[in-house]
Amino acid sequence: MDSTPSAGNDAGQLPEPLSGLLSGQPAGPLTAGQLRELYSLMVAVRHLDTSAIAWQRQGLIPGYAPELGQEAAQVGSGYAVDTARDFVFPTYREMGVARAMGVDMVAYMSTHKATWHGGLYDPLESRLAPIQAVVAGSVLHAVGWAHGQTLDQTDGVAMAYFGDGASSQGDVHEAMNFAAVMRAPVVFFVQNNGWAISVPTERQVAGGSVAARAAGYGIPALRIDGNDVVAVVDATRRAFAHARAGHGPVLIEAMTYRRGPHSTSDDPGRYRSLNEERDDAGEDPLERFRKTLLADGVADEAFFAEALAAAKAEEEHIRAGIQALGSRPGTEMFDLVFQETTPALQAQAANWREESEHV
């Protein structure tokens, strides 16, 4: 792993753009209240993420895609979203983003309960597109949505999440090219977590950096320490300001590390040792932030204890909500395919009703 930029994440503090000129001034520095809020969000996400794995082991949910170690990248970027005007296009591993944006977490987790593909939350109200399992599938959607804002002359910005693995997909190239050609207000937020299931970044991303590719499209790019939540907030805000001002897309590559498995079905022990994992992951972003807050006198032990207690209470509430989720009525299987159903589908639904009632 010594040759890969994912190891150790030495991107450091917010750098100058790798390419292009990133206009737009960042908002003022975060207040003490905002810093504490970020910490509370990170603790809530960490606790929920860890619990979701336990729920899977207990049989409450059939599967989950953990994000252990990516709390700073997810919470920091999601925190910069203005849900009054922006729109976010997630993958299947953006629970921290959803939480930071204030999405109903029972409805979010329902997709992992296998209740409904895409989740039960209202994407229009929450400003979070349905969960997306096709790698890079939604990156182009962000470009289309963003171009729609240009046509409508709003100042909304789309943010598309994808990973180092997804950057190998052709749709990411097409999305970056389309966005650059149309000057669409899109923030491409890459979480380079070092792994695409079992394949490390150096076997996935030729050249070693997704951000470096942006230069080829004339898109300004930032490569940041994705484990530093303050740096993530700052970079995302700068990117939003740039796109909102009509200067076109921005790419942020947040260097982080997926500390856990790809999913609850994955066994990372087959492709990396615990020693490698410990050495490459670097410092825990949550612990790191906690030390900073403590050293800067922004928060104290009582606050940390309170944040953890709140996270536990929240997790129990979400767990209860998940447990209470029944199956969706079978009719929805037929009713939600089209806005205007078809006679054949109606006939199949009628047949299903008749036969299931007689079982």
């Binding site: 729109f87 296009f89 409904w116 593909h117 895409g118 039960l120 209202d122 994407p123 229009l124 597109a129 349905p130 096709v134 599938g137 939604s138 990156v139 182009l140 959607h141 962000a142 470009v143 289309g144 949505w145 963003a146 171009h147 729609g148 804002q149 046509l151 409508d152 789309a158 052709g170 749709d171 097409e174 999305a175 090219n177 389309f178 050609v181 929805e332 939600l336 395919v337 089209f338 806005q339 205007e340 078809t342 006679p343 054949a344 589908l345």
Partner: protein, 354 residues
């Protein structure tokens, strides 16, 4: 553009002026439909490769950018997945995209976005994110085009839950079906028979009966293009005109052939199909696509299910072959020709049990 308005004057019930009947090519009829859709819905957008300044390689979008501006009608980079993926986001943002892929074979690079995204987003989002996307696909063969410029993808698209599929057979159908498709809230694959683009025909703009049924209404089902008593030819797209030719030739031998233009390949108008075949008691399905797992199999099964008691013979299929679409020199051997269709009719008429 010829504009021989044969009647006019009085307004329609909905306030639009009567525009009468014109002789138009299918290319002109499609252009007119797009013009009216763009005029009627400010959220509708026409885009794709060369759709703007050039007006499309088939000129279907001719003049539209000049009229509606580059915000409504525009050229995209050359990338089909990008065109369709962008359409998803635009639909999420409240637009009504009418994208074009330049040739049928170039829909393949966009299959992921069409099948995994466009077709499923309404379902995935529980109806909160409809995909009112009309994908125009110049389709089928018959123009001696290079490889990948002549394909019949209807079975592939019709098989995908969440998509609707339609194909016009003449200028009148092209106008009414496109106007209808492009105002629906669900994704529609609009398969234009490119070999018919330059054929002229009457377009009755004010047709109170685009449905093709006595009850009137929108063009949602199949349409009997020629009444007959002895046998039903079921076709769509470019094959409808060929089947009408065949019907005229068969009539010389005293065989009275009914021609049913299926129009919608998903959903298939099962009632119209059953009504026609229960009358004629014999059916031949004609399509350009390869035979195995083609739409002809679906049509034959629907006929069997609804007309088994009255059928005089098994449903016959006259189709393309299970070969890659051949070069221009062999195209006429591949596409069902008049002789092959006549042989099929003969086999069905002469069928004897056991």
């Amino acid at each position: 553009m010829s504009s021989a308005i044969l009647e006019g004057g009085a307004g329609m019930a909905d306030g639009t002026p009567r525009r009468g009947v014109e002789q138009l090519s299918m290319q002109q009829a499609l252009n007119r439909a797009l013009d009216e859709v763009l005029a009627g819905n400010p959220k509708s957008l026409v885009f794709g490769e060369d759709c703007g300044r050039l007006g499309g390689v088939f000129r279907i979008t001719d003049g539209l950018q000049a009229k509606y501006g580059p915000g409504r009608v525009f050229d995209t980079p050359l990338a089909e997945s990008g065109i369709l993926g962008m359409s998803v986001g635009l639909a999420m943002a409240g637009f009504h995209p009418i994208p074009e892929v330049q040739f049928d074979g170039f829909a393949y690079p966009a299959i992921n976005q069409i099948v995994c995204q466009i077709a499923r987003m309404n379902y995935r989002s529980r109806g909160t994110m409809p995909m009112p996307i009309t994908l125009r696909v110049p389709s089928f063969g018959g123009i001696r085009a290079p490889e990948h410029h002549g394909e019949s993808l209807e079975a592939l698209f019709a098989h995908v839950p969440g998509l609707k599929v339609v194909s016009p057979s003449n200028p009148h159908e092209a106008y009414h079906l496109l106007k209808y498709a492009a105002t629906r809230p669900d994704p529609v694959i609009f398969m234009e028979p490119k070999s018919r683009y330059w054929q002229k025909g009457e377009v009755d703009f004010d047709s109170a009966d685009p449905s093709g049924s006595p009850a009137g209404g929108p063009p949602t089902g199949a349409k009997v293009m020629r009444e007959g008593r002895h046998l039903t030819l079921v076709a769509w797209g470019a094959m409808v005109a060929r089947c009408l030719q065949v019907a005229e030739l068969a009539a010389e031998d005293g065989i009275d052939v009914e021609v049913l233009d299926l129009r919608w390949l998903k959903p298939i108008d099962e009632a119209a199909l059953a009504a026609s075949v229960r009358k004629t008691r014999r059916a031949v399905v004609v399509h350009e696509a390869p035979r195995t797992s083609g739409l002809g199999a679906e049509v034959a099964q629907l006929i069997t299910q609804s007309c088994f008691d009255t059928l005089k013979a098994p449903v016959e299929r006259i189709t393309g072959f299970d070969v890659p679409y051949p070069s221009g020199d062999l195209e006429d051997e591949y596409i069902p020709n008049i002789d092959r269709i006549l042989f099929g009719i003969q086999r069905v008429l002469e069928y004897r049990r056991g």
